[in-house]
Symmetry: C2
Subunit: 321 residues, 2 copies
């Protein structure tokens, strides 16, 4: 296990970059634009989205200084280019922009998987362009240019997975941008990132999708009953399972090994839980359910979730300590 | 599949009951007391809890008119007795109070399982006492007398599963109490209740506990990493998996058949998802993830969850429609 290491961001000079190009203007791209704009972190923001409707909407919303009709135009002269497209689209976009990247520019991305994404980018990477892969651990179940907002990255982690060949000052500069948007920046290897994310994100999403799929499939319990009585627990799974299907298809196709590994462990563990239920082993179940409480406590102590009952849906504060 | 049927509550007379006895003063018992008090729904509230510390705390909080040191004292003269203890404790409490129940009184409970609970209660039920089992689909991950509040049941469903022998007016009266506390009241058979809840609550909890158990178990990803990066999806599972261990042990031991049935279906479905990931079947995954989105939409349209991003944890409203 390689522990993540903190990165010392570059001294706070503003703007951090003269021109940032965002390729993809969905939830993450538009939020980066709002956050960078709020903090005065970049001189100019050029954006591009593949769909004409998204470009049109982005122009109306006004989070970019320029919304360009081609990716080549957006990246021209940019000292930071961030790929904010689904992982499966990365290679095609990369092939298209590579000839237009400025020497000395930093190239980054926001993809939820790293090893396979890096393998797709690297063959197209021009000499003199610094590739610093990134992954902000932030998002909501909403997607598209309307879903973005400046506060999305606040107090969230952003993981950078640069190779050894990247100059430290290029890494520190990108870290300064993310810190300026409110994030805590960490560094780890692409492989460790993919395993950590399989546990904390990819497998939980696979399981939530599966649970919702089962409910949708049962003939003996109607859809309207599932919906009506969902507050008893099920609805928490449906939020996760309402996330963008394209993004998640690409995550599973591109982090296959780690996801299958952790899903295998999950299935094993589920067998043990099923066995304890079947054999009526109350002591085992009670001990198991007590142990899992401690992790929740750790998350609350780390400030990574709210202690308000039901995620604060009830409009009530958490208990007094 | 037997569809649930709505119950017409009795005409709104206040108080609905002259004296309500609550056995068990945890999250649900204390919330019932606050809600009944707020609505002027009962003349007097007598409470009992097994633990002296809970009784003491309940006296300080003041949600009961009287906190009694024995269950017999609490139920004496009550025209409504509600068992708010864990399902596994129901039979012992029932045996203890049975000789003290007033003829014509209504006996109810708030247990998350119904068929086995009814089987445990019935042998002890005195002649002339109307047993109307109930299950409010409401709760939070917090427990104990401090966790209760008057609004817990608002807009939530309460399912009643009385037998055919119970007079309709006794059922309508209990329904009026729950409606007065803000709930929608439904009626179904105990067996159908147990199946519906296995899908919407018990299996989701089993899966959340298992996912948290897996994360806790991995040597290759440290606890601190799981906690640090939990906002990427995992933390949603930990809230559910922080629920009361005793309550959940009893749920699984007492709704074993339906839970194992749905867990079996879940495991089957998970095999299909794993297979699609392993074989790289992107079309299948995309279609699957698109289908599960529709259920989320239904839950939002039914007013059973918030559309604010991330359950409103970010303090932002839902998207404009």
């Amino acid at each position: 296990m390689s522990a993540p290491s903190a990165i010392a961001p570059a001294a706070a000079q503003r703007p951090v970059y003269a021109r940032m190009a965002l390729l993809g203007l969905g939830l993450i791209g538009s939020s980066m634009a709002w956050a960078a704009r709020r903090g005065g972190l970049v001189g100019e923001i050029a954006g591009h989205a593949r769909s004409a409707a998204t470009r049109e909407r982005a122009r109306e919303l006004g989070f970019c200084d320029r919304v360009c009709d081609s990716p080549a135009e957006a990246v021209a002269g940019a000292d930071l280019v961030v790929l904010c497209v689904p992982v499966g689209a990365i290679e095609a976009v990369m092939a298209e922009i590579a000839p237009h990247l400025a020497p000395g520019a930093t190239l980054s991305d926001v993809g939820s998987v790293k090893a396979e994404l890096i393998a797709a980018v690297r063959p197209h990477l021009p000499e003199g362009v610094h590739f610093v892969p990134g992954h902000p651990l932030a998002g909501t179940e909403h997607s598209g240019p309307d879903a973005g907002f400046a506060e999305l990255f606040e107090k969230r982690f952003c993981i950078l997975t640069p190779g050894d060949e990247v100059p430290e000052d290029a890494i520190a500069r990108l870290a300064a941008l993310w810190e300026g948007m409110g994030s805590h920046v960490e560094r780890m290897t692409p492989e460790h990132h993919d395993l950590v994310l399989a546990v904390t994100s990819h497998v939980p999403h696979a399981i939530a999708y599966t649970m919702v799929g089962v409910a949708d499939d049962l003939a003996r319990v109607s859809d309207s009953e599932v919906i009506r009585y969902s507050a008893a627990g099920f609805r928490d799974f449906t939020r996760i399972a309402a996330s963008d299907p394209t993004m998640w298809r690409d995550v599973f196709l591109n982090n296959r090994e780690a996801v299958l590994d952790i899903l295998g462990r999950f299935s094993e563990e589920l067998m043990m839980v099923r066995r304890a239920i079947r054999t009526g082993d109350g002591d085992w179940l009670h001990a198991y359910f007590t142990r899992t409480r401690a992790i929740r406590r750790g998350i609350l102590e780390a400030g990574q979730d709210t202690d308000a009952p039901d995620f604060g849906r009830l409009g009530r504060p958490g208990p007094k300590r």
